[in-house]
C-alpha cells in the first residue's frame, strides 16, 4: 500500500466505481424485467383473442385487442359478487386488525402485568403453527355457531393476527418511555397516551402494517375456500380458484383456449386493484417495514 504513488491510486478509482454502477444497473434492469414479465404478459394476453394466447403466446398485436375474454369471464363466474365480499371482509377485518393489534402491542410493550410473558409466549407459539392446523377445529367451531358461509366466519378468525401484534410490539417498545411520562405529567390518560403519543410516533410502521394487512386479507385463499365456498359468499380469490380448477378439471363444452383466456382476464381483474393500491402507497409500505425493522 505504502509503495503506490498517490496519483496512480487515485485515478482508477472513479472508473472502477462507474463500471460497477453500469454493471449493477444492467443486472438490476434484467432482473426487474424477469420480475415484471409474467405479470405484464398476463395483463397483455388477457386482451388477446383466446386462441392466439395459445397459438402465439409471445406476440401482441394491438389491432386485434379484444374484450372477449373479459365478457365471457364476467358471464361465467360471479366475480362482481366476489369483489363485493372481499371488500366487506377487507373493511371489517382490516379495521379490527389495525386498531386492536397496535393497542394490544402497546399493552405488551409498555406495561407490566401478571401472566404477561406467558400470554406473549403463546402468541409466539402460534406464529410457528401452520395455519392449516387450525382449519379443522375452526371449521367445526363455525359449524357449531352456524357461521358457515357467513361474513363473521370470514372476518373474525385471524382478525387480530399474531404476527401483527408481534411486529407492533417491537415497534412500540422503541418509543422512548420519557415521551410517555412527559405526557402523563401533562395529565394525559392511558388511552389518550396511545392515541395522541404512540400512534403518531409509530405512523410509518402502522402504514406498513396497513398495506401488509390489506394484502393478506385480499389474497387470503385457504380459509375462504373452506368456510365460504357458496356462490353468494365466495371471495374474489375463491372465484379465481374455481376458475383455475376448470382448467385441470376439463369442463365439458369449453376448450383449453377459452378457459385460459377467461383465467387470464380474471387474474388481471383481481391483480389490478391491489397493484394500484400498492403503487400508490408503496412509499409508506417500504418505509414502514424499514422503520419496524429487526436491527443488525
Amino acid at each position: 500500500m505504502t509503495t503506490t504513488l498517490p496519483g496512480s491510486a487515485a485515478r482508477p478509482r472513479p472508473r472502477r466505481v462507474s463500471l460497477v454502477t453500469v454493471r449493477s444497473q444492467i443486472f438490476l434492469l434484467l432482473l426487474t424485467l424477469a420480475f415484471l414479465a409474467p405479470v405484464a404478459w398476463a395483463l397483455l394476453s388477457a386482451f388477446k383473442p383466446a386462441n392466439r394466447i395459445i397459438s402465439d403466446p409471445l406476440s401482441f398485436d394491438p389491432t386485434s385487442a379484444t374484450l372477449d375474454n373479459f365478457t365471457r369471464m364476467f358471464a361465467d363466474v360471479p366475480i362482481g359478487q366476489g369483489f363485493l365480499n372481499t371488500a366487506v371482509v377487507l373493511v371489517f377485518k382490516g379495521a379490527i386488525t389495525l386498531f386492536f393489534a397496535p393497542l394490544a402491542a402497546y399493552g405488551f410493550a409498555k406495561y407490566t402485568f401478571p401472566l404477561k410473558n406467558m400470554l406473549f409466549g403463546t402468541v409466539l407459539i402460534t406464529l410457528m403453527l401452520p395455519t392449516i392446523v387450525l382449519i379443522i377445529p375452526l371449521l367445526l367451531q363455525m359449524k357449531e355457531l352456524g357461521w358457515v358461509n357467513t361474513y363473521q366466519a370470514l372476518i373474525l378468525p385471524g382478525a387480530v393476527d399474531a404476527f401483527a401484534v408481534f411486529w407492533m410490539r417491537q415497534v412500540i417498545a422503541a418509543v422512548p418511555d420519557e415521551l410517555l411520562d412527559a405526557a402523563r405529567v401533562d395529565g394525559c390518560r392511558e388511552f389518550a397516551l396511545f392515541r395522541r403519543v404512540v400512534l403518531p410516533v409509530i405512523k410509518p410502521a402502522l402504514a406498513g402494517l396497513a398495506v401488509l394487512t390489506v394484502m393478506n386479507i385480499y389474497n387470503d385463499f385457504v380459509w375462504p375456500v373452506v368456510v365460504a365456498s357458496s356462490e353468494r359468499m365466495a371471495t374474489l380469490q375463491v372465484v379465481l380458484s374455481t376458475l383455475a380448477q376448470n382448467i385441470t378439471g376439463n369442463r365439458i363444452g369449453a376448450d383449453y383456449a377459452t378457459i385460459t383466456g377467461e383465467l387470464l382476464a380474471a387474474a388481471s381483474v383481481a391483480l389490478v386493484p391491489l397493484l394500484v393500491i400498492f403503487v400508490a402507497l408503496q412509499r409508506h409500505f417500504i418505509n414502514g417495514i424499514l422503520a419496524g425493522s429487526v436491527k443488525g
Binding site: L31, F35, I136, A162
Partner: protein, 310 residues
C-alpha cells in the same frame, strides 16, 4: 428535580390531588388489561382454542362425525412409519434446498445494490421487485400454469425460438420441483430484499469507505463486512422462509395438485390430503409433527447464530 420532589411531597396538603394521583395509578394498573383484552378474547377463541382442540384430536381416530376414540400415539407412530409422510417432508426439504440459498444470496445482492442512495431508478427497482409479492397468489399460480404449459406455454415458445426442445415444466417429476421453487422465489424474494434493506440501513457507511481505501474488492466487502453485520436480519429471513417453505400449501395446490407422481406433494399439502379424506386425527398429528420439524430447524439456526456470536 426539586419541583418533582415538591409535588410528590405536597399531596397531603389537599385531599383532592391525592385522590387524583390514586385514581391515575389505579388507571395505569388497569389499562394494560383493557388494551390487551380484545386481542386476547379473539385470540383465545379462534387461535388458542382450535390449537388445543387439534392437539387433542391428534390422539384420536376421529373422522368428523360420531364418537372419537382415544388411540394414544397411534397417529404419530403411523405417520413416522408412513412413506407418504416422509416423502412429503423430503419434497419440502428439497424445495428448501432449491429455494433458500438462492433466495438469500439473490436478495442480499439486490439489497446491497439498492442500499446505495446514489443509484438511479432506485425507487423503481424497490417497487418492481415487490410487484410479485403483492400479486394474489391464486392469480400468480394461474399465470404459472399457463406460462409453463408444455404445449402452449410462453416459456417453451421462447426455448423453441432458440431451437431448443419443449420441456415438461409441470408434467415431469424432474422439472416440477424447480418450477415450483421458481414460483416461490419470484413471489417472495422482493419482500426479503426489503427486510434485508432494513438491516443494511443500520450499517455505518464509513465502514465501507475504510474498506475501499484498503482496496478490498466488492466481493470481499460483502463476505467480510456486510454478511457479518446483517447476520441477525439474515437469520430472521432464514427462519421466516423456512417456516414458509415447510408450510407451503396453496402454490402446489393450485399449480400442480401435488403431481406429477407426488413429486410436489409438500408437507403442507400432504397434511391437507388427510383432512380432505376426512382422516382428521392423522391430519392433526401430521400438523404437530410439522411444527416440531420447523421449531427444531429454527432453534438450530438460532443456535448457530449464537455460536457465531461467541
Amino acid at each position: 428535580m426539586t419541583l418533582a420532589v415538591d409535588t410528590q411531597a405536597s399531596p397531603s396538603a389537599s385531599p383532592s390531588p391525592k385522590r387524583r394521583a390514586n385514581r391515575s395509578r389505579w388507571r395505569r394498573q388497569l389499562a394494560p388489561y383493557v388494551f390487551v383484552l380484545p386481542f386476547i378474547a379473539i385470540f383465545a377463541a379462534f387461535g388458542v382454542y382450535p390449537m388445543l382442540f387439534t392437539l387433542r384430536l391428534s390422539f384420536t381416530d376421529w373422522r368428523g362425525s360420531g364418537a372419537a376414540e382415544w388411540v394414544g400415539w397411534d397417529n404419530y407412530t403411523y405417520l413416522l412409519g408412513n412413506e407418504g409422510f416422509w416423502s412429503s417432508v423430503s419434497n419440502s426439504a428439497v424445495l428448501w434446498l432449491l429455494i433458500i440459498p438462492v433466495q438469500l444470496l439473490l436478495a442480499l445482492v439486490i439489497a446491497v445494490l439498492l442500499d446505495n442512495a446514489k443509484l438511479r431508478l432506485r425507487s423503481f427497482y424497490r417497487v418492481a421487485f415487490l410487484v410479485p409479492f403483492v400479486t394474489p397468489l391464486v392469480a400468480v399460480a394461474q399465470i404459472w400454469v399457463v406460462v409453463f404449459d408444455q404445449d402452449y406455454g410462453a416459456v417453451n415458445a421462447i426455448l423453441n425460438t432458440f431451437g431448443l426442445p419443449d420441456v415438461g415444466w409441470l408434467t415431469t417429476s424432474l422439472w416440477a420441483k424447480p418450477t415450483l421453487a421458481l414460483l416461490f422465489l419470484w413471489k417472495t424474494t422482493g419482500f426479503i430484499v426489503i427486510i434485508l434493506l432494513s438491516g443494511l440501513q443500520s450499517i455505518d457507511a464509513n465502514v465501507y469507505e475504510a474498506a475501499d481505501i484498503d482496496g478490498a474488492s466488492r466481493l470481499r466487502q460483502l463476505v467480510n463486512i456486510t454478511i457479518p453485520l446483517v447476520r441477525r436480519t439474515l437469520m430472521f429471513s432464514l427462519v421466516l422462509q423456512t417456516l414458509a417453505v415447510f408450510q407451503m400449501f396453496a402454490e402446489p395446490f393450485v399449480v400442480t395438485d401435488g403431481g406429477p407422481y407426488g413429486s410436489t406433494t409438500t408437507a403442507g399439502l400432504h397434511l391437507y390430503e388427510h383432512i380432505n379424506r376426512g382422516d382428521l386425527g392423522t391430519g392433526a398429528a401430521n400438523s404437530f409433527l410439522l411444527v416440531i420439524i420447523v421449531m427444531a430447524l429454527s432453534l438450530l439456526f438460532v443456535r448457530l447464530l449464537r455460536a457465531e456470536d461467541r
